[in-house]
Symmetry: C2
Subunit: 278 residues, 2 copies
């Protein structure tokens, strides 16, 4: 099912939502984004699961978020460190996800998540939870991982060349877009441009630190947080040399449209159109 | 006179050209860009002046380029370190520029050039030389400085916010565009986007390291070197919040068109159109 079909379906039944954070979200001040997530979870009336699979130090990362989410008024929080395929096949873990009001993916390495989750019971339950309406949030690697196609590598601050970016299959909760995070802070324009150049049907969404996109059932997202989200729309690309270059050879890419969107600006994914706040 | 008027005029009489380099050009291998500059200068049949005003260690930078240009077959090279307003008012220095076949601005700090050159005899002679057909080249700060409006500051790898970029008046050899250098390598997309957002009539040209744009009399430029040039065309911008934000407040900017151009791709400045090589 394509992302648009999913969200259309959600649109009918007003279910699931996603909050994808560009990393380094405020944890000590207003905590705007994490607070928003907690309010969304509270509306669901069930517990919150913090999934630390992306982090190599899962326990300490889990504890940090537990404290923050408790401070923000969430009474029931489960830390789940699914760090092996074995744990990903656990019926108990799978059921824990299915019953959650919210699931939060911490940062770390997105390949840890997909290589552990791929094809397991926990993965199936995550999808079921999402389709039932559980709020799924992720920061940094945890934001990249939810889409069908995800960025797993590629240096920032580099010219656009054939080895700029490595892509892989993500968790597939949303399709037809690719998410990048720490976007401005790590100079990731060229690797996201490259991701779009491969197949201009894919929309590129680059999320700055302490900034988030909140996907809503009606196939739009709204920007939250202190910085901006860069949308790369490749539908109008008239020419690229991507099929002809190798290794360090530089990219040619013509007529890419971009938008830079701060908080409260929305984007309609079906119409590929920005909605300016009143 | 606008840049287009200058180049149109040049077009009639086939005079002056510019070679603007994004910094860190190859000095030890094929030296493709510097070699190209030397071939252009040799066609002019006069000496080459290396202007080290941007560099704080002018003497050593000058010597390094002298050796390279000698290796590349230039027989007569003058190192000119105009490092004071007094030297910029010297008739001798002014005459040296006017008689040159090529003038090369080293890197450093573009404000050193403009604060020393602005309104002086040397500045007038530079413009005369350019209009007479002297090949003007610059790398890094030396590339930024030639346009009418230039970037003097602004951190890379930062979100697009009101303090992203500081602009100033450059040497004014070309107008209606703003040049940035070390572009991909220092994550400067947002500061160039901002420069264009101020006035979308201005074309943004971001030059990667070891990459150059060669401006030709017929109002086009062609890309040279190993990486890419990013062109930011703001003519189609439909909305921005730049007049409403302050300090760290994030930018909104909708419908910016960009092109990523490797070597041999050209751009027609009048038509704002890319010319794909055969």
């Amino acid at each position: 099912m394509s992302f648009l079909e999913v969200v259309n379906k959600l649109g009918e039944k007003v279910r699931g939502s996603l909050l994808l954070i560009g990393g380094a979200e405020d944890k000590y001040g207003d905590k705007e984004i994490l607070n928003r997530f907690c309010r969304m979870v509270q509306e669901k009336g069930s517990y919150l699961v913090v999934l630390t699979s992306a982090a190599s130090q899962g326990a300490s990362v889990g504890l940090e978020y537990q404290r923050i989410f408790e401070d923000l008024g969430i009474s029931e929080i489960k830390i789940l460190d699914v760090d092996s395929r074995n744990k990903a096949e656990s019926v108990e873990n799978a059921q824990l996800l299915e019953g959650a009001g919210g699931i939060f993916f911490t940062g770390g390495d997105q390949l840890r998540i997909t290589s552990i989750f791929g094809g397991t019971k926990v993965n199936n339950s995550l999808k079921k939870a999402y389709e039932k309406g559980t709020i799924i949030a992720g920061t940094s690697a945890g934001a990249s991982v939810v889409s069908d196609i995800m960025i797993v590598g590629g240096k920032g601050d580099e010219s656009a060349q054939m080895d700029s970016v490595q892509l892989s299959a993500g968790l597939g909760l949303i399709e037809e877009l690719v998410i990048d995070q720490h976007f401005a802070q790590r100079g990731r324009m060229n690797r996201l441009l490259f991701s779009v150049a491969y197949n201009p049907h894919i929309l590129g969404i680059g999320i700055d630190e302490d900034t988030a996109v909140e996907f809503r059932p009606e196939a739009t997202f709204v920007v939250r947080g202190s910085h901006s989200v860069t949308v790369i729309d490749g539908k109008g690309i008239t020419h690229s040399n991507i099929s002809e270059i190798k290794g360090k050879q530089p990219l040619a890419l013509l007529d890419v449209k971009i938008h830079v969107l701060p908080a409260l600006y929305s984007y309609n994914l079906q119409k590929r159109k920005v909605i300016i706040p009143d």
